[in-house]
């Protein structure tokens, strides 16, 4: 009882700290289609990566949404799921919130704040500042899941199929805009 109350207060404090003005969100589509959009922007695939020891190879869009929103807390092997996110404002994070969670930053934070407070969500996402950090975290934590631009993926992590599609497939729809400064 006492532990549940502490978790809720912690989640509340985390939510207040990370609360920021919510950017606009296109919530009508789970997957954006760069070919059909009116804006001609350069994009690259965003890979969903897990620890190499994780038995999961394939996730559906719905399962992925549940994982990223904290609705699903354990993998099939019993390992607790640890979600790894980049810092707010990051292109990859924006793409994930838009295409997987169908939320903007504010909605996402409120969702976790509420979930942690009510006990529906066990742990908040881990915030890491760089792709290298994401890679290392997932390498060290067997239950971790995160996302990386395809160019940042290496052998230390495992890429998960989404709806049976790998990031290299043409129909793979989880993509991130290439920053102009890259």
């Amino acid at each position: 009882m006492m532990r549940g109350r502490r978790v809720r207060w912690a989640a509340l404090a985390w939510g207040l700290l990370l609360l920021s003005p919510a950017p606009g969100v296109r919530s009508s589509l789970l997957w954006s289609d760069p070919l059909s959009g009116s804006e001609a922007v350069a994009t690259e695939p965003l890979a969903i990566v897990v620890n190499r020891s994780n038995p999961v190879d394939d996730l559906s869009s719905l399962e992925l949404r549940h994982v990223f929103l904290g609705s699903r807390s354990y993998w099939s092997n019993g390992r607790r799921i640890t979600l790894v996110m980049r810092e707010p404002g990051d292109q990859e994070r924006i793409a994930v919130l838009r295409d997987i969670c169908s939320m903007n930053e504010e909605q996402f934070k409120n969702h976790f704040l509420h979930g942690l407070y009510t006990g529906e969500i066990l742990v908040s996402p881990k915030i890491l500042s760089s792709p290298l950090g994401v890679r290392k975290f997932i390498f060290n934590v067997p239950g971790a899941i995160g996302y990386l631009r395809l160019g940042d993926v290496d052998d230390s992590v495992k890429v998960v199929r989404i709806d049976e599609l790998l990031p290299n497939d043409k129909r793979y729809r989880l993509r991130v805009q290439i920053s102009t400064d890259e």
């Binding site: 290392k136 975290f137 060290n140 934590v141």
Partner: protein, 497 residues
């Protein structure tokens, strides 16, 4: 005379006993050729010993370096292994102290880098393990370290997940005991290295003692070799001097005998003349001939000794002339006429046609050839025939024509073993001495020195019981003149007679 004989005997009696005969023969031989041979042999021996010493020192140095690498290096490796193992654990404990995931990842990197170094060091240790204890320990260490890393990974995952309570629980339950086992293994590694170092130190001490013994042995041997070498050189020189003294004694004895015989004849003849025993003209003429012959014999002997004495410290080069061969032959025959007549020998002269003129000194050439003919008369056989043959040939060594004047007898000949000694001063062959042939042993020595002073030489060939040929080699006047001109030598000595 008796005193001289006694002195000679004393010298002989000082020669070494029978037990040293073989060694002395060798030393005598070395002394005859050169004591430098002995010196070179000693130097070679010392050089070989020096090489042995250097190799021994190098071997010892390599052994010391090996021991250092194995023991001290092993202790250093054990220390580094222990430090890295602690570093692996330290980074994990630091990760527990922060909630910042980025910082936790830095500590995760540190612990993984340290465990990578530990794993490599364990593999190195396993590869280098020699003894059964080391092999077993390496396997145990590898197993315990792997077990600890499994717990460490779980603890690290819990920390990164943010489950600090889980991390601490796991570490206390599995990490601490696993690391304690690793620590004990590492202590065991250090203990084995310490034992190895102790063994190495004992081996080093043993090696040092052995090396010192070897060095002492080698130095002792060197000292003995040096002493033996010095002794051998001194002994060979002493034997040489004794031999020379013996020859001189024999020479004095021989000269005394040669002088006393004519003196006795002269004194006897003088007594007879003084006492009026000889009165008739014919007897007086015969006595006169005897006195002349004996006095001439004494004069020749004294002249020979004086000539040898004057050439003892080297002969001044004689003034050279261009001389016709006929002139040489005439002068020699004139000098040896009386000896030839008195001995009943006949000298057969053969001069090849068209011989060039010889380069030499007429007096010198005459003296050399006279000595050779007198020797031929002395040692000639019953045929009482001596051949004097003048010819020319090309000197193979210098590529020049040279005049050869050979004196051949048909006498007893010279033994092959003695033929190289006949030109040594005072040397007289045992066969000659046994045959009661008197002489000083100086004739050939003097002849060779005079020949060399004219730029020539004397060669000899002989066969036992068949006779000997002594040949005087002289340069031809033409060849010598062109050679002198070519080297721009002063032509003052080349005089035409």
């Amino acid at each position: 005379m008796n005193n001289v004989k006694k002195a000679s005997k004393n010298v002989v009696s000082q020669l070494p006993p029978q037990g040293m005969a073989v060694l002395d023969r060798l030393l005598n031989c070395a002394s005859r050729h050169s004591s430098k041979i002995l010196l070179v042999a000693v130097c070679c021996g010392i050089a070989v010993i020096g090489v042995l010493v250097v190799r021994d020192l190098q071997s010892t140095s390599e052994e010391v370096q090996r021991l250092f690498r194995e023991s001290i290096g092993g202790m250093q490796r054990a220390g580094a292994l222990q430090y890295d193992a602690q570093e692996t654990r330290r980074a994990i404990l630091y990760a527990l102290t922060t909630a910042d995931s980025n910082l936790q990842l830095v500590y995760a990197d540190q612990t993984r880098a340290a465990d990578h170094r530990v794993s490599n060091s364990i593999e190195d240790y396993a590869r280098q393990a020699n003894t059964q204890d080391e092999i077993v320990l390496a396997a145990q260490l590898r197993q315990d370290w792997t077990a600890y890393l499994a717990v460490r990974d779980e603890v690290l995952a819990s920390i990164l997940e943010g489950s600090i309570h889980d991390a601490v629980t796991r570490d206390l339950a599995g990490g601490v005991p696993a690391f304690e086992r690793v620590r004990k293994d590492l202590d065991e590694v250090k203990r084995l290295y310490a034992e190895e170092a102790e063994r190495s130190a004992r081996n080093l001490e043993r090696t040092s003692r052995s090396s010192a013994r070897r060095l002492a042995g080698i130095l002792s041997f060197t000292f003995l070799l040096l002493s033996a070498g010095v002794w051998a050189i001194q002994r060979s020189q002493m034997l040489g001097r004794m031999q020379f003294a013996k020859l001189q004694m024999e020479f004095v004895a021989s000269v005394s005998h040669e002088l006393r015989t004519p003196l006795a004849v002269i004194r006897s003849a003088a007594d007879n003349l003084a006492d009026g025993i000889v009165q008739t003209g014919e007897a007086l003429r015969r006595y006169g001939l005897v006195l002349r012959h004996q006095s001439r014999r004494m004069t020749e002997l004294v002249d020979q000794i004086l000539t040898f004495a004057s050439t003892e410290d080297g002969v001044e080069p004689l003034p050279l002339q261009s001389i016709a061969i006929d002139q040489i032959v005439r002068a020699v025959l004139s000098h040896t006429e009386s000896a030839e007549r008195e001995s009943g020998f006949r000298i057969e002269v053969r001069v090849d046609q068209g011989l060039p003129r010889a380069l030499g000194n007429l007096n010198g050439i005459t003296q050399v050839l006279t000595n050779l003919i007198v020797n031929a008369i002395k040692y000639g056989g019953d045929d009482r025939l001596i051949t004097l043959h003048a010819s020319a040939t090309e000197n193979p060594r210098e590529g020049l024509d040279e005049i050869l004047i050979a004196v051949t007898d048909r006498g007893m000949g010279i033994d092959t073993a003695e033929i190289h000694h006949v030109f040594e001063p005072f040397y007289r062959s045992p066969r000659v001495k046994n045959a009661q042939i008197h002489g000083t042993g100086l004739g050939l020595s003097v002849a060779r020195r005079i020949a060399e002073s004219m730029g020539g030489r004397i060669s000899v060939s002989s066969q036992i019981a068949r006779g000997s040929t002594f040949t005087l080699h002289l340069k031809t006047a033409t060849e010598a003149a062109s050679q002198l001109s070519a080297i721009d030598a002063p032509p003052a000595r080349l005089m035409s007679t």
